[in-house]
Amino acid sequence: MAKEKPDLVYGTLDMLILKALQHEPRHGLGIADRIQQMSNDILRVEQGSLYPALYRLEAQGWIKAKWGVSDNNRKARYYELTTAGRKQLAAEKEHWLRITKGIDLVLAGG
């Protein structure tokens, strides 16, 4: 299992990647950028660690990849969410919300 940066909650990288791909296909750097941007720079993905995660998701059938051309005319591999991936995203999101809600409650109760 690849190490993830400590500032990312363990096990959430997959979910974040799926989320980043929700609306459009992106390449690796684009995904890293998107996560950083959506989190208002709170979450920084170590870019290298993206790839093991991407291949894992691809093997699961949640995303699929194809070669394309980036905005500045470079060849890049674009990742796209599959239907199974959308379902998985929804499931993980729900799971996450439930857990964080629980954690919130625990922390809130003084």
Binding site: H27, L29, Q47, G48, P52, R74
Partner: protein
């Protein structure tokens, strides 16, 4: 384990690995390029931009390695994980694992063994022959009869000449003979084969050569022989210079021109041949004379290879057309005659045709054993899943998917059955020659050979059985596991002895099925045993007591008919004076022997046969006193006397069926029939008897006097109080007194002769009984496991009952009644199943109804007895429960 994983990943990834690696490198490079570009845009110098990009990205090579790890096919990874885990779990419960593997080994092993027998005997009996799928047995048929018989040589030659859809035809006629090497003479079995035999089969002799085309022709012109590998090894000690040496076959010197490949035993399934000679030598090996120019003599066992792409129907149509033409050209010999292609497993030429129903039933029985074994393992797994409930709920609680749990259980099951399949294939390997062990014939010179064949098809089928049975037995526990709910697991299992939770009910259902299946098997065994006994006891129409049969091999000693006649006259005199001998008679064919009766076209005076139908009947040539000696009553007229010889008017004795068919309501004695252009008068009517097997239907049959046309080879029928051994010793003495070079062939009681012909029935009984025993054993284990488990689960309840005053007998009754209830239910189901299944055994049953009450009753008693035994131990244990301790826990 890491090495195994590496091996797996290599296996799966090898082909894609390079391409994938290149793609990954390219992708990462593109990423870095984008970063560098961005950094330059932000004002960095190119080398600064590059370093920064690498820093941002992280260690490229480590990441590549980490990414590769993810690349390995995920399922393979998970699968390996499951296998590792499963192996640990099995290791940790060795008792369970061994029991489960043993059950499955029995189940898979029996199936693999049966498959290998079917493959080796029925489907591809000739492992060395290519294109067995295009090979068919070719027999002659007589209009109005269903069974095939041999071809005549002229017909065979015409077929070869006139057909276009066939690649080749071969002749193979089994002969027994005397093989002499030096002064050592032994019986040997061989084949008269067409000259193209080895070429058509695609076999190259391992030494020397096969036959040349010209060696098939010319009366006695080519005394050459190819010997089998075993003969070469046994008789000639593997002599490398064997080619060109000679051996005496039936007293005629033959030159050895070749040695057949090691694993080739000939094309007569069931026998392992010692040698082959070309068709030109037929007369040397046949006591009934030269037949290569006789269109009426149908003696050839033939095989045909179709050309590629030709269907059996097309080929059959061509054969029928040729038969039609031959019928027109040679009405005298060929009226009503045709040819038919038989699949190899229906060949009319050897015992295989009789074996196939036995093997069919055996397949069914083996499948039953497998089902019972699966039910057992399923039961064991269920029991274990209770023990592992904690583990399962823990894994579910920690976030394992239910699918993953099910997969885990299936993997464990697969592990079990793969080990069992390996064991099963080993069992099949050991059993490959088991069918021979049941064979009744122990005649010197005949090597019975029914080999199982463990080729890739059998292995594939066994693997399929292994996977299929995994699905079967792991299914129920897996469903259970996937339904396990977290909260339910926390509650305690409160199963009583009588009621039981859902799971207990499921396990009971499995025992139910087991009991039912074993019941069916026991009924089947019982039915087969009963028919065996019936057959043993049934009256073949001649006396089976006090009659001994024997014969002397005069043919191979080079006797001609004149000399043979003198020999027989003298022998009859000598045997008659032996102590204890009441009478003796000659017969060309002894009943129930492997020798073939002659068959002849008939004409009946005053009987008009249906159009296009050629009347034929089998007949035997017998001497004076035959009927009284063998004990067939003469119901009208007289039996043959010494005076019925070549000078007397031709006489015949017909059996009752023949009399009733052709002369209904008439006085048969004095009527006339024409056999082979010769009119003869019926002088007597004999009671019907069995001639070949006890299973045969009554058919028209007649007898002619042996003295009219003495043949070299006759059998002796001796009525005596003495044992077969005593007769044999006296017999040998008398023979040697006449000619020291002669030796008797087997001297046996006629009862033994009859028993030999019930081989397939005996085989069926043995196989079904063996498998049925296994199934019963498995079912008993299942029953025992369920009951003892129920007892152990209800210790509390039983303790409570004891505390409230229940006595030992009450508890015994409670536990036993649960076991008997299960058994009873299973038996009811079994009765229903047995009633439908046993009907399929029809053709193996002899004078026993498929609903025979005795067999059913016996099965019932056995089942109940086994249930009582299986339940008594747990019941006894129940009475030993200490109520105080039981209640406290």
């Amino acid at each position: 384990m890491p090495r195994l994983r590496a091996w797996f990943s290599r296996l799966f990834g090898l082909s894609r690995r390079n391409r994938r690696d290149a793609e990954m490198a390219e992708e990462i490079q593109a990423h870095l390029d984008l970063l560098i570009e961005r950094n330059i845009a932000a004002g960095m110098l190119p080398h600064e931009a590059r370093n920064a990009a690498l820093r941002q990205f992280g260690g490229v090579e480590q990441i590549k390695e980490a990414a590769r790890d993810q690349r390995i096919w995920r399922w393979a990874d998970e699968f390996l994980q499951d296998v590792r885990f499963g192996a640990r779990m099995l290791w940790r419960a060795p008792g369970f694992s061994i029991l489960a593997i043993l059950c499955l080994t029995l189940g898979i092993g029996t199936n693999a063994a049966v498959f290998s027998w079917i493959e080796g005997i029925l489907i591809r009996p000739y492992p060395l022959v290519a294109h067995q799928d295009r090979m068919f047995a070719l027999g002659g048929t007589t209009r109005g009869e269903t069974e095939g018989h041999g071809l005549s040589y002229p017909d065979f030659v015409d077929l070869e000449k006139n057909s276009t859809l066939f690649e080749s035809f071969i002749v193979d006629r089994i002969v027994g003979t005397r093989l002499s090497v030096g002064d050592r003479a032994e019986r040997a079995t061989g084949g008269i084969v067409s000259a193209n035999y080895f070429d058509a089969l695609g076999l190259r002799p391992m030494l020397g050569r096969g036959f040349r085309p010209e060696e098939g022709m010319g009366r006695n012109a080519h005394p050459v022989t190819v010997i089998s590998y075993l003969t070469w090894q046994d008789r000639y000690k593997g002599d490398p210079a064997i080619i060109g040496k000679t051996q005496y076959l039936n007293g005629v010197q033959h030159t050895i021109i070749g040695v057949a490949p090691e694993k080739f035993h000939g094309t007569f399934i069931g026998y392992s041949f010692n040698f082959w000679v070309p068709t030109s030598m037929q007369e040397t090996f046949d006591s009934t004379g030269y037949k290569l120019e006789d269109r009426g003599a149908r003696w050839i066992e033939a095989y045909a290879f179709l050309k590629p792409g030709v269907t059996r129907q097309q080929a059959q149509a061509e054969l029928s057309a040729i038969a039609q033409r031959l019928e027109n050209d040679f009405p005298k010999t060929n009226r009503g005659q045709s040819f038919e292609l038989f699949p190899l497993w229906k060949t009319p030429f050897n015992a295989v045709g009789n074996l196939s129903p036995t093997l069919a039933i055996t397949t069914g029985v083996a499948f039953f054993v497998l089902l019972i074994a699966c039910a057992n393992v399923s039961n064991l797994l269920l029991a274990r899943s209770l023990l592992r409930r904690h583990e399962m709920t823990m894994r579910l609680a920690l976030g394992a998917g239910r699918r993953r749990l099910v997969k885990q259980l299936f993997t464990e099951g697969l592990l079990l059955s793969v080990i069992a399949a390996a064991g099963g294939i080993m069992v099949a390997y050991w059993c490959r020659n088991a069918l021979v062990l049941v064979s009744p014939v122990r005649t010197p010179g005949i090597t019975i050979d029914y080999p199982g064949q463990l080729d890739w098809r059998v292995l594939v089928l066994s693997v399929a059985v292994c996977i299929g049975s995994t699905m079967l037995f792991a299914l129920v526990p897996a469903i259970q596991a996937s339904h396990a709910d977290l909260s339910g697991a926390l509650k305690s299992e409160g199963s009583g002895v009588v009621g039981g939770s859902g799971q207990a009910r499921l396990r009971s259902a499995l025992v139910f099925v087991q009991v039912a299946l074993s019941f069916v098997l026991i009924v089947g065994t019982g039915l087969l045993l009963r028919s065996m006994v019936q057959m043993q006891n049934s009256d073949p129409g001649f006396s089976t007591r006090k009659v001994v049969v024997s014969s002397v091999d005069l043919l191979s000693a080079g006797y001609k008919p004149d000399r043979a006649k003198i020999f027989y006259e003298q022998m009859l005199e000598r045997i008659r004076t032996l102590p204890g001998v009441e009478s003796v008679a000659l017969a060309r064919v002894r009943p129930f022997s492997y020798a073939v009766y002659s068959s002849a076209p008939l004409e009946i005076e005053g009987y008009q046969p249906p159009r296009n139908e050629q009347l034929t009947a089998d007949y035997n040539e017998v001497g004076e006193g035959y009927f009284s000696t063998i004990g067939i009553p003469i119901v009208a007229g007289r039996e043959f006397t010494r005076n019925d010889d070549e000078n007397a008017p031709p006489a015949a004795i017909v059996n009752e069926t023949m009399a009733a068919k052709y002369w209904p309501g008439k006085d048969v004695v004095g009527q006339r029939l024409k056999v082979k252009d010769k009119w003869m008068e019926v002088v007597g009517v004999a009671k019907n008897a069995n001639y070949r097997t006890k299973l045969e239907q009554p058919t028209p049959f007649f007898y002619v006097p042996v003295r009219r046309n003495f043949v070299v080879q006759n059998g002796f029928i001796i009525r005596t109080e003495q044992s077969a051994t005593a007769v044999m010793n006296a017999f040998v003495r008398e023979i040697h007194a006449l000619d020291p070079n002669l030796a008797p062939l087997d001297t046996i009681t006629i009862q033994e002769q009859v028993d030999r012909m019930s081989y397939t029935q005996r085989l069926a009984v043995t196989l079904v009984a063996a498998f049925g025993g296994m199934a019963l054993f498995l079912a008993a284990i299942g029953l025992y496991a369920v009951i003892s488990y129920a007892v152990s689960q209800s210790t509390r309840e039983l303790g409570l009952r004891m505390a409230l005053g229940a006595g030992v007998s009450d508890l015994l009754r409670l536990v036993m009644s649960r076991g008997l209830l299960l058994t009873g239910g299973g038996i009811v189901l079994g009765v229903v199943a047995a009633l439908t299944v046993t009907r399929l055994m029809g053709n193996l049953l002899y004078k026993v109804s498929p609903r025979d009450p005795l067999a059913f009753g016996l099965a019932f008693i056995i089942m109940i007895a086994v249930a009582l035994i299986a339940c008594s131990l747990p019941a006894w244990r129940a009475t030993r429960i200490d109520p105080v301790r039981a209640l406290r826990t």
